[in-house]
């Protein structure tokens, strides 16, 4: 059994890492694969292509837009969902099943349908909204819903939010005070989990940005890769590492609080 498990893990590892290694070789080694011999294995490695991309103003613009979108999506997610999840948990726990179903909807409706629907509605009423790159924020908040809402909901349940709310109410606290002073400090783990997941989704999301003709990091990468396949691949690896780093920081922050992503409901 143990042997089988080890073999399975090795195969799984190969499945994930061989393409990544191939990608890295293609991106950073300037020796065509047909000419690659064992002696040339260490020749021609360079990250100059990647450094060049970093200097590319278009890349910088796209990255800043993506990071801004990430921060805004996280803020909007927390500002909208935290009170909503708290309200459902405290005042209407019977709606929880319905809320879970609703939060899954964005993944049932394909992005193209979402974009077309929203575009048709807003183009006639608030055209400036669609013109701004920030019009992506609501889509990202929706797109992250199944993960962010569940993380917050699990956090609220694990601290017994309803009892804490009622205890604070009897003492004379307003709902705002309760959310800020009692609920938020006790569910930092869930807030971190919701934020990390939203960040990871935003940094990798392509469909909405492409459909709305916005230049974000993923759309820039797709475009860039067509003209500069090597540097494009290098950039893809770098972004992947960045996302992994964000998740790792989040998981570490959770561990410090004795939680993991699973405990945060993900």
């Amino acid at each position: 059994m143990k042997v089988l498990r080890t073999i399975f893990l090795i195969l799984l590892g190969l499945y994930f890492f061989v393409p990544l290694l191939a990608m890295a070789r293609f991106a950073f080694q300037s020796v065509p694969v047909v000419l690659l011999t064992p002696e040339k294995l260490l020749e021609g490695w360079s990250i100059s292509g990647l450094i060049e991309v970093f200097g590319n103003p278009e890349f910088q613009r796209a990255t800043i837009v993506s990071l801004q979108l990430m921060v805004l999506a996280i803020v909007l997610t927390l500002v909208l969902l935290l009170p909503l999840a708290a309200l459902v948990e405290i005042r209407a726990p019977q709606l929880r099943t319905l809320m879970t179903a609703i939060t899954l909807l964005p993944w049932v409706v394909p992005p193209v349908a979402l974009v077309v629907g929203v575009a048709a509605t807003f183009r006639n009423t608030v055209p400036w909204f669609l013109a701004s790159p920030y019009s992506l924020v609501p889509f990202y908040v929706l797109w992250a819903l199944p993960f962010s809402y569940r993380a917050l909901d699990a956090g609220l349940r694990s601290i017994g939010a309803r009892t804490l709310y009622e205890a604070a109410r009897v003492m004379g606290a307003s709902t705002f005070t309760i959310i800020v002073r009692v609920l938020v400090p006790n569910m930092i783990g869930a807030i971190i989990a919701a934020s990390v997941l939203t960040a990871a989704l935003v940094l990798g999301e392509f469909a909405f940005a492409a459909l709305l003709l916005k230049e974000t990091l993923p759309t820039f990468m797709a475009e860039f890769q067509r003209s500069e396949p090597r540097a494009g691949m290098a950039l893809a690896l770098a972004v992947m590492l960045l996302t992994a780093l964000i998740i790792w920081i989040g998981v570490r922050a959770l561990r410090k609080r004795g939680m993991d992503l699973q405990a945060a409901g993900v």
Binding site: E166, A167, V170, M171, A173, V182, N186
Partner: protein, 342 residues
């Protein structure tokens, strides 16, 4: 300190009637327990008093002031919950202080009150621990101190001992009573545990199906139950048919008076300790079960086809075993019985 008066309260959840014409009066400084099986409406009554639920009909007054529509934060009540309700991000002291800050108490007043309450509840050594570092009993003591911090008009206790183990439960129960007497706060205590209710309350209200069946001091409730439900719910009771005997009643071959009766009632409610069991080889009754309880021994006896439960003093008990022939009778010191509906 304030007198509580809940009058004609009705509450429905969908098609379920949780409370129906519920009226309860709690004197200033009194501790009243609401006792009843789960789903009887006792917690709903407490939640309406706290302002967490709105009554469909009826009114709530505290100290003469109608608070039916006053929101919870403005009622100035203290409450201890069944679940641990301390704020996990605050120490014991900070939890108590939170309540005081909300009432805008000055820092000197806060310190005095916290020190006094921590001392009264015996928590001074644990004041700076976080809830997860405390035992269940300590947490509930902090919750009690926190509930009392703002000098509440009414203290509400919603099964505060249910999550604790038996030994801690007993000592904390006595402590709650002592602190409540010392501070003299009007208190409503909700529980499903009859021993708890009888031990702690000035008066116990027994509830069933959203109604208050009877409210009396513990001893009166035990000795003079108004209904078969109360007799059966509070303590153990034998329902024994009684025959009219002039203006008296005949029960287990003894003629006794009825201290309390309901129209048309022919069943006597006899407590196990009111029955004596004599070992007698010529007796008509048979011992079915013997349970040793320390000072008492509980006997289950087959008496003319029905089963009776008798608690006899172990020291006076003849040592019958299962299957032995015995004779049951009313104890000599029982001269009046309670008749409940037939």
């Amino acid at each position: 300190m304030a007198k509580v008066f809940m009058s004609g309260i009705r509450k429905e959840f969908g098609s379920t009637v949780a409370l129906s014409d519920f009226t309860l009066e709690i004197e200033s400084g009194e501790l009243v327990c609401l006792l009843g099986p789960s789903g009887c409406g006792k917690t709903t009554a407490l939640r309406i008093l706290a302002g967490f639920e709105k009554a469909d009909a009826g009114s709530v007054t505290v100290g003469g002031e109608d608070i039916t529509y006053v929101p919870t934060p403005k009622r100035n009540f203290g409450m201890v919950f069944q679940e641990y309700s301390l704020f996990p991000n605050m120490t014991g002291r900070e939890n108590v202080e939170f309540a005081l800050k909300l009432r805008k108490a000055g820092s000197a007043e806060r310190k005095d009150t916290i020190d006094r309450l921590l001392e009264v509840t015996g928590l001074t050594p644990h004041a700076d621990k976080f809830p997860h570092q405390m035992s269940g009993g300590q947490r509930q003591r902090v919750a009690l101190a926190r509930a009392l911090a703002s000098n509440p008009r009414v203290l509400l206790l919603d099964e505060p001992l249910s999550a604790l183990d038996a030994k801690v439960r007993d000592s904390l129960r006595e402590e709650i009573r002592r602190v409540q007497r010392e501070i003299g706060v009007t208190t409503l205590f909700v529980t499903h545990d009859q021993h708890e209710a009888l031990a702690i309350a000035d008066r116990v209200g027994v509830m069933s199906h959203g109604r208050l069946e009877q409210i009396d001091p513990p001893r009166a409730l035990y000795e003079q139950p108004d209904s078969a439900f109360v007799a059966g719910f509070v303590g153990t009771v034998n329902r024994i048919p009684a025959q009219v005997d002039g203006d008296r009643w005949r029960v287990l071959n003894r003629s006794v008076s009825a201290s309390q009766t309901v129209d048309g009632a022919t069943l006597a409610a006899i407590r196990p300790e009111q029955i004596a069991v004599d070992v007698d080889a010529a007796g008509d009754d048979t011992v079915r079960e013997v349970v040793f309880l320390g000072p008492l021994t509980r006997l289950t006896v087959d008496h003319g086809g029905s089963t009776l439960i008798a608690d006899v003093l172990t020291s006076e008990f003849g040592g019958a075993t299962m299957g032995d022939r015995v004779r049951v009778r009313l104890r000599d010191d029982v001269d009046a019985i309670v008749l409940i509906e037939g």
